[in-house]
């Protein structure tokens, strides 16, 4: 298992390098000039010097290597410096956002908590709702509960999040006035009242995302439970007189969780990347919203860094899913 994990980690390195090359080239070869929005009164020779200052004069492979060095050496050193209070990075050039002229890593660090709170909580809640629904609808297949559950999950899976979000805003923010429609990220939790306000402003975005995640995961849970309920070992367990509760919740559930756990692990990167739309609907200024504004402002370093972070997360959680699969299912041996 350990050798397998190490081997997979080593394979991940060329994959990530290749992905970084794709992202770099896509943004670099694309038409569109970072200097396009400069005023026309700037003389051409100054414009040229500005281009060189941005590092646009170098040949493309040099720029790629420099970007890699910035991303993999200088930025981690800076993060370490901030945590330990040392000065290992010195004053090496960091990845600078063209929008704000401050290091990209600092802006991302400011945005991560909002995304994690809203989207992460929604994912946890979604999983917590999905598992019991999936178990119960598989156990009572074709009952009214199952029919309702499959219908609701089909609807939750088909209705796009920007529509559910907007409908919830109309119902609960405009008509009933229960919850605010905009997420206020400057809000600080200091006492009970502000805590209640924080909960209230999180209700709508979390509901939208939790519904969407729950509908997907409950479909997997139901299918996996159904597969296992028909197996011979279930009959054996019942035949030796185990209580129904033990049969379903220990024997069947444990085995059905194996594929579901990997699906849950594979879904974690979408917490960061996939919530772009929900963040936009509720004006949460998290990572997704940062990406959108960076794209609209042609802020290439920011877009490159964010997309690459999303790619790293996807590769990482693919690995986690594979390793978890091996740990949970003793029949699977990778060595």
């Amino acid at each position: 298992m350990l050798t397998y994990t190490i081997r997979r980690l080593l394979i991940a390195i060329p994959t990530l390098l290749f992905i970084s090359l794709i992202i770099f080239l896509l943004l670099d070869l694309a038409p569109g000039d970072p200097m396009a929005q400069m005023p026309l009164t700037v003389p051409p020779e100054v414009r040229q010097r500005m281009r060189e200052a941005l590092g646009l004069g170098e040949p493309i492979h040099m720029r790629y290597l420099l970007w890699l060095k910035q991303f993999f050496v200088i930025e981690p050193l800076n993060i370490l410096d901030q945590m330990l209070g040392t000065d290992m990075a010195g004053d090496a050039q960091r990845v600078i956002s063209w929008q704000t002229r401050s290091p990209v890593a600092d802006i991302i660090a400011q945005r991560i908590p909002q995304t994690l709170w809203v989207v992460g909580l929604a994912y946890v809640l979604g999983v917590a709702i999905a598992l019991p629904i999936g178990i119960l609808s598989a156990y009572r297949q074709y009952s009214w509960f199952d029919q309702l559950g499959t219908f609701v999950s089909m609807v939750g899976f088909s209705v796009p999040t920007f529509f559910t979000g907007v409908v919830l805003i109309i119902l609960f923010a405009v008509n009933l006035n229960w919850f605010p429609s905009i997420y206020d990220t400057t809000h600080r939790v200091t006492d009970w009242d502000s805590f209640v306000f924080q909960i209230r402003q999180m209700v709508l975005p979390v509901t939208v995302l939790a519904l969407y995640n729950a509908s997907q995961i409950s479909r997997f849970m139901r299918a996996s439970m159904l597969d296992n309920l028909r197996q011979d070992y279930v009959r054996t367990a019942r035949a030796k007189g185990l209580r129904e509760r033990a049969v379903v919740l220990t024997h069947v559930l444990r085995n059905s969780m194996i594929p579901v756990v990997t699906v849950i692990a594979l879904g974690v990167p979408t917490i960061f990347g996939g919530a772009i739309i929900t963040e936009q609907v509720f004006k949460v200024n998290g990572l997704g919203q940062l990406l959108i504004t960076a794209i609209q402002a042609n802020d290439i370093p920011m877009v490159q860094t964010l997309t690459f972070i999303f790619a790293v997360l996807i590769v990482l959680f693919n690995l986690v899913a594979d390793v978890l699969y091996g740990l949970l299912d003793p029949r699977i041996r990778y060595d």
């Binding site: 920007f162 109309i170 405009v174």
Partner: protein, 304 residues
């Protein structure tokens, strides 16, 4: 006492495979309802403009922001444009994008899946490519692609065709991976079957082998993923439009209509709800059709 074997009279017509599939499909209530709704939407969107021939871009400033009336059954928007006509025109574009993008993605997926499954030498390379695409953050990349290539393409082909081409290609290129994996698996299993061996033994060329023997047998998984692909493509297109990176403003699609109406959501919530319901209903019906097709095409379930 011996029983005499009575030969069963062959009164029922010989059941063909298509008929079996259709019978199984019909027994799936959700799928039938989905098919009915989807066909209705298609008819309304394509034939509706012939009956209701108000132009979707006709601006009538005197009758803006109106509620439903005889002249405008679904009301008008902030520029006095007829909502019914806009919804029909928007649906036409959204569904056309969905169908074309699905076609492209199925074409790519089948091509890569069949080549990877059939030619062993290509397998490793193509599957690494598929894994690589699966590891890309797709929605961010789609946004980036649309942002970067929108100007040159709309200059080359005009704003509407250019964006149409861009969105279809962007969705197609980022959604073929599942199809390729499924098709490859099926092809690998088919290659071990006797009829393929028989065909090979009489010297069938690889091209003919794929066209005559392999492709017809992988058609059913392809059909299922095609149906689900339409739904995914429609959602992606409207998500792009919703983020303001889709079609230009005067060119209605369902996502764009929703996006335009969000600003006035407090005053005119119906204008947001109508395109949203249209998108959701289409996607829901297509997903149900896909579910029914999957059941109908699965020989383990069929006949039960």
């Amino acid at each position: 006492m011996t029983e005499t074997v009575v030969p069963t009279p062959q009164t029922a017509p010989a059941s063909s495979q298509m008929r079996d599939i259709w019978r199984q499909f019909r027994s799936h209530r959700g799928a039938m309802l989905g098919l009915a709704i989807f066909v209705t939407i298609l008819v309304v969107v394509w034939l509706g403009p012939l009956v209701w021939n108000t132009a979707p871009t006709f601006v009538d400033m005197r009758s803006r922001n109106q509620g439903p009336s005889l002249a405008h059954p679904l009301g008008t928007d902030q520029l006095g444009r007829d909502m019914l006509a806009r919804l029909m025109a928007g649906g036409k574009v959204s569904i056309a994008v969905g169908l074309t993008a699905m076609g492209l993605s199925i074409l790519l997926g089948t091509l890569i899946g069949v080549s990877a499954g059939f030619f062993r030498r290509l397998d490793g390379v193509l599957m690494r490519l598929t894994d690589l695409f699966l590891a890309l953050p797709l929605l961010p990349l789609l946004l980036v692609m649309v942002m970067l290539f929108r100007e040159p393409l709309s200059q080359r082909f005009g704003p509407e065709t250019g964006i149409f081409i861009l969105i279809v290609i962007a969705i197609g290129v980022t959604s073929w991976m599942q199809t390729a994996r499924i098709v490859r698996g099926e092809v690998l299993a088919l290659k071990e079957r006797e009829f393929v061996l028989a065909a090979r033994s009489i010297g069938t060329s690889p091209a003919k082998m794929i066209l005559r023997h392999i492709l017809p047998n992988v058609l059913s998984p392809i059909m299922v993923s095609a149906t689900l692909g339409i739904a995914a493509a429609i959602i992606t297109e409207s998500a792009l439009s919703f983020l303001g990176l889709g079609f230009p403003p005067d060119f209605p699609t369902w996502g764009r209509l929703l996006y335009d109406a969000v600003d006035q959501i407090q005053l005119f919530p119906m204008r947001v709800v109508m395109p949203g319901i249209a998108i959701s209903l289409t996607v829901l019906s297509v997903n149900y059709i896909g579910d029914g097709l999957r059941d109908a095409l699965d020989p383990r379930i069929r006949g039960r």
